[in-house]
């Protein structure tokens, strides 16, 4: 579904990604791991078209999207749940969800999808008229994921959905990510929570200083000596 080859990306004169290559197949849950500053978020932003200078190929459903502007990429079915949630703080919960479904197909099913999102996150139904900026961190993350689902994405990209959440909530968010994937949405996930994500993903890639170093299935990586040493501290 998504094939990335020779991806190089830079902010002004600083090159962040070097020949990154990976693949996400239909229906998979793929995890991108790496230390802070390894280039995970940059990789995701390059896919979504928000990094201005990028070269290589990013093939989505057979079409090269590397030169498309960000909104076109979103319209093709790649939905990005960004790091730090990036909700519209002065719009209500409901409006945030509505704005997630602007494309014709998603718009046609708007009411239906909103209902599903409310079932997934009952707290959002309760706070539907509150401003997004006034929600707690966990609720904001739920809204960000819900807003992403509103687009009926073919590929859902999630950037550290567990960031800054209490352990109980983290677990809950991961269950939901798994559930979303089970319902047929292809997921590309960036996470710091290595053990938990390797346990639930189909395949994983490790980014190190802007280069892809290790890849394999979740269990392969869980038993990898380097991973154990660098990320699990065993």
């Amino acid at each position: 579904m998504l094939k990335v080859k020779n991806l190089n990306a830079a902010y002004k004169d600083l090159q962040v990604l070097w020949d990154v290559a990976f693949e996400v197949k239909q229906g998979e849950l793929v995890v991108l791991l790496g230390a802070n500053g390894a280039g995970k978020t940059t990789t995701l932003n390059a896919i979504s078209g928000l990094v201005a200078s990028r070269t290589g190929t990013i093939e989505f459903l057979g079409q090269d999207i590397i030169n498309l502007p960000g909104h076109k990429i979103a319209q093709m079915g790649i939905t990005h749940v960004p790091e730090g949630r990036r909700l519209f703080p002065e719009m209500s919960v409901r409006e945030n969800l509505e704005i997630g479904s602007l494309m014709p197909e998603a718009k046609a099913k708007r009411q239906e999808t909103i209902k599903k999102v409310y079932e997934l996150f009952p707290i959002l139904a309760e706070k539907r008229n509150q401003d997004a900026g006034k929600l707690s961190g966990g609720q904001q993350q739920m809204l960000a994921i819900g807003r992403g689902l509103m687009a009926l994405p073919k590929l859902l990209i999630m950037d550290e959905p567990s960031l800054g959440l209490a352990p109980v909530l983290v677990s809950q968010i991961f269950d939901i990510v798994k559930e979303i994937n089970k319902q047929g949405v292809t997921v590309l996930l960036v996470e710091q929570n290595v053990v938990r994500t390797l346990g639930m993903c189909d395949r994983a890639y490790v980014l190190d200083n802007g280069r892809m170093t290790i890849s394999g299935t979740g269990s392969e990586l869980l038993n990898d000596e380097h991973i154990k040493e660098a990320y699990l501290g065993i």
Partner: protein, 294 residues
């Protein structure tokens, strides 16, 4: 007592029309993150369009207003797309340069109009220009009353547009987080262009409503830039409701100043309030409300 209430009512009516112009400015400021110093010039151009419609083709100013809104919508879109947006795309240029560019646009518009119409004072006279309603001892001008209600109607329609339609929500989303809007599949550059056009159209509407009340000359734009600036600061940046409150405060203050100090000091009163607000209430009326809620 009647003088005072008449003055205040007159101020409210005037303020409603000012508010419409300022709402156009807030709208642009929200999405572009820049102060549009050409806003008053857009008001002025809108007034000239309405003036030409009335003078050359005998179109009533309240109908000419729609022509002016259409013309200014396209003018605003063009300015944003081919001038301001080009500066946004070039990273090496400071954001301040966009503001400087709006000053340039203001000068070109003002001098362009002067080239065509000279600096003469002009006014539109209609059959109802001097009509007055008498109401328990108070005299209220009909064009003022009409202007106020049309301005409030437009404000209400804009509110509906921004809260009920997808395009309106996209405008608000782009103003609140441009990158996140792109994640939603919103074409942010197109939205910015439409918003600029809409802001310019509201400026034209406000100007046209004031046309029966003001003399028109090319430099009148500066007056409106100052007024919208004062109102936006008073009401708190980027808030439609705030712009209405700010507009009413400015209208009433000017009206009181004109009645009790001198007609000639009317604009000074507004500027003094502006300075006082900047010094003592930099967040505008909105921050007062927040403080009171907390």
């Amino acid at each position: 007592m009647e003088l005072l209430s008449q003055t205040i009512i007159c101020g409210i009516l005037l303020g409603g029309m000012y508010a419409l112009i300022a709402i156009g400015m807030t709208l642009i400021m929200g999405v572009m993150n820049i102060v549009n110093l050409a806003h008053g010039a857009l008001v002025m151009v809108g007034m000239y369009v309405t003036y030409v419609c009335a003078q050359e083709f005998g179109v009533d100013p309240y109908l000419g207003m729609f022509v002016a809104m259409l013309v200014l919508f396209f003018l605003g879109c063009l300015i944003q797309k081919f001038m301001i947006n080009r500066l946004v795309e070039v990273e090496s240029i400071l954001p301040e340069n966009q503001v400087l560019l709006t000053v340039g646009i203001m000068l070109v518009l003002t001098e362009g109009i002067r080239l065509i119409f000279k600096s003469d004072y002009r006014s539109v006279v209609t059959s109802y220009s001097s009509d007055t309603l008498y109401f328990s001892g108070m005299a209220i001008s009909v064009p003022m009353l009409t202007g106020f209600f049309i301005a409030m109607l437009f404000t209400f329609l804009l509110h509906l547009f921004l809260t009920r339609t997808d395009l309106g929500k996209s405008i608000r989303a782009t103003a609140q987080d441009r990158d996140a809007a792109v994640y939603m599949g919103i074409n942010a550059s197109k939205i910015t262009m439409i918003t600029f056009g809409l802001g310019a159209a509201l400026a034209a509407a406000g100007g046209s409503l004031l046309l029966p009340l003001f003399y028109l000359w090319p430099d009148i734009g500066h007056l409106f830039t100052a007024k919208s600036f004062i109102i936006t600061i008073l009401g708190g940046l980027g808030s439609t409701g705030g712009a209405i409150v700010g507009g009413l405060i400015l209208g009433i203050a000017e009206s009181l100043g004109a009645t009790y100090i001198s007609m000639g000091y009317k604009d000074v009163v507004g500027l003094v309030i502006f300075l006082l607000v900047l010094l003592f209430l930099p967040g505008g009326v909105r921050s007062l409300v927040k403080r009171w809620q907390a």
